[in-house]
């Protein structure tokens, strides 16, 4: 593939840095505008991962931390494709997820919520997309949990998703929500995103066709990264 630059980051799609209803953003948001760079080799390249980096079981959260049994909770498959804005699949890219257990408790030394840890559930997984950009995980549906923002704020059920893409310019961390959750419109973190259509894009629909009868349900979550520019009349990068 010819090296190419990426479409400009769609700033209307992403949350702004300063979103006061999500309190922590107030002291952690830059006050000056980001300086726009045109892509050089530093931005159009990024880390490459292979099957040596991970194990096949890493995408199965029902088994990857099982000790004496399986985790408690609603068994689900989460699957989808990683695409770019041109609808081209992003193959061989690393997708990592992390989440709370079915009761909304994270396996993290800093989480002190009173809901108990599940001894058979770690809460993280990772996988590489295949040649068509497809990925899948098996896990349990996470529970909602409370957090210290406004007095009675609760996060909707969500799974954190990290994806690399082909270039450092495509690096993304986001959160996946579940169809029909009434906490979604009440969440100050969801509502950092100004465009309702961009919020809808973070909500995974129930996908009955992808589940396994008498075993587990499934949700579908496609991820769109920045597109690579076409090369017509390209003012090429040095050295290419």
């Amino acid at each position: 593939m010819t090296p190419a630059e990426y479409h400009a980051c769609d700033r209307r799609r992403h949350p702004p840095a300063l979103t006061p209803n999500y309190k922590t953003s107030v002291s952690r948001s830059p006050r000056f505008a980001a300086l726009s760079l045109q892509n050089s080799l530093s931005e159009i390249t990024g880390p490459v991962f292979g099957h040596n980096d991970i194990d096949p079981i890493d995408n199965d959260l029902i088994r990857n931390y099982a000790k004496e049994g399986e985790p408690i909770g609603e068994r689900i498959i989460v699957h989808g494709r990683v695409l770019d804005e041109n609808a081209r699949p992003v193959p061989q890219t690393l997708v990592e997820i992390w989440q709370a257990n079915a009761g909304g408790r994270y396996r993290h030394r800093k989480d002190t919520y009173l809901a108990p840890i599940d001894p058979n559930f770690g809460g993280c997984g990772r996988t590489l997309t295949d040649a068509d950009g497809h990925y899948f995980f098996r896990t349990v549906k996470p529970g909602a949990y409370p957090w210290r923002n406004w007095v009675n704020d609760w996060r909707p059920a969500h799974i954190h998703v990290s994806v690399f893409g082909r270039a450092f310019a495509q690096r993304l961390i986001t959160q996946m929500y579940f169809e029909g959750d009434p906490l979604i419109p009440r969440c100050p973190i969801v509502q950092t995103i100004p465009d309702p259509a961009a919020i809808d894009q973070l909500i995974a629909p129930l996908d009955m066709n992808a589940g396994v009868p008498l075993d587990c349900l499934a949700y579908r979550f496609d991820i769109v990264l920045r597109g690579r520019r076409s090369t017509m009349f390209e003012n090429r990068l040095e050295g290419n």
Partner: protein, 235 residues
């Protein structure tokens, strides 16, 4: 109505949250799950080049260290080659060199640190505008902000690309770390020269900070907001 454009729209970013370690550095969250955590081998033991330690803290708008931040580094090897197929010289990348690292801060102090090799100079963009032959110039002549007025391939000053996520950061922040001992290359660097306020360029320059384990230490503090705010880039 004009014809519709059928591009997909980017998936929106969300904060990595306070428990980012569970997914990306589970050992720090308090449990072992993977055969190997990724991101601890930016430059393996056999990678050529000058070995250095880079460290710093990320500071919030109140002046306090951010203790739940996660940083990723992306850099070229000591000869300025990226370990990625879009770099024309990637086949020659140093043995054992990956170029990508992931670090978290100490929960008590907020200090982060990684060991790597000092990157070489990587090619810069060609100048904007039509391809015009630039008249030959003396070797000492500087380029302008777009890299014009220079013979031969333009090179960026040695730098490490950094990406920062944390609770309270809605969209990962991109910045670059340059080196104080590369004054000449820094003065000619097209990206540093894009920063209009000359004093703000200083926020991108790491300073020497002694030695540890026999290796030179480079200190790079990142200020998210307020006095001395680090320059962040829309890449």
């Amino acid at each position: 109505m004009p014809q519709p454009l059928h591009y997909l729209r980017e998936t929106a970013s969300q904060t990595a949250g306070p428990y980012v370690h569970i997914g990306l550095a589970p050992g720090a969250a308090g449990f072992d799950i993977y055969r190997e955590e990724l991101g601890w081998d930016i430059a393996g033991p056999n990678a050529e080049g000058q070995r250095i330690i880079v460290e710093g803290v990320v500071i919030d708008g109140t002046g306090a260290p951010v203790k739940d931040v996660l940083l990723e580094a992306w850099q070229a090897d000591a000869e300025g080659r990226y370990a990625h197929p879009d770099d024309p010289r990637h086949a020659e990348v140093a043995e054992d060199f990956r170029g990508w690292g992931r670090v978290i801060t100490d929960f008590e102090t907020g200090l982060w640190s990684f060991q790597t090799v000092k990157p070489g100079q990587v090619p810069a963009r060609r100048p904007l505008g039509p391809a015009v032959k630039v008249r030959p110039q003396s070797a000492g002549e500087r380029t302008d902000a777009l890299g014009r007025g220079h013979q031969g391939p333009r090179r960026q000053a040695p730098h490490i690309n950094l990406w920062i996520v944390a609770r309270g950061i809605n969209l990962g922040l991109n910045t670059r770390m340059y080196f104080a001992d590369e004054a000449e290359a820094n003065a000619a660097d097209a990206v540093l020269n894009l920063v209009e306020q000359v004093h703000r360029r200083e926020t991108l320059i790491a300073r020497p900070a002694g030695e540890r384990d026999g290796l030179p230490v480079w200190r790079f503090d990142i200020r998210l907001q307020g006095d001395g705010e680090t320059v962040f880039f829309d890449i």
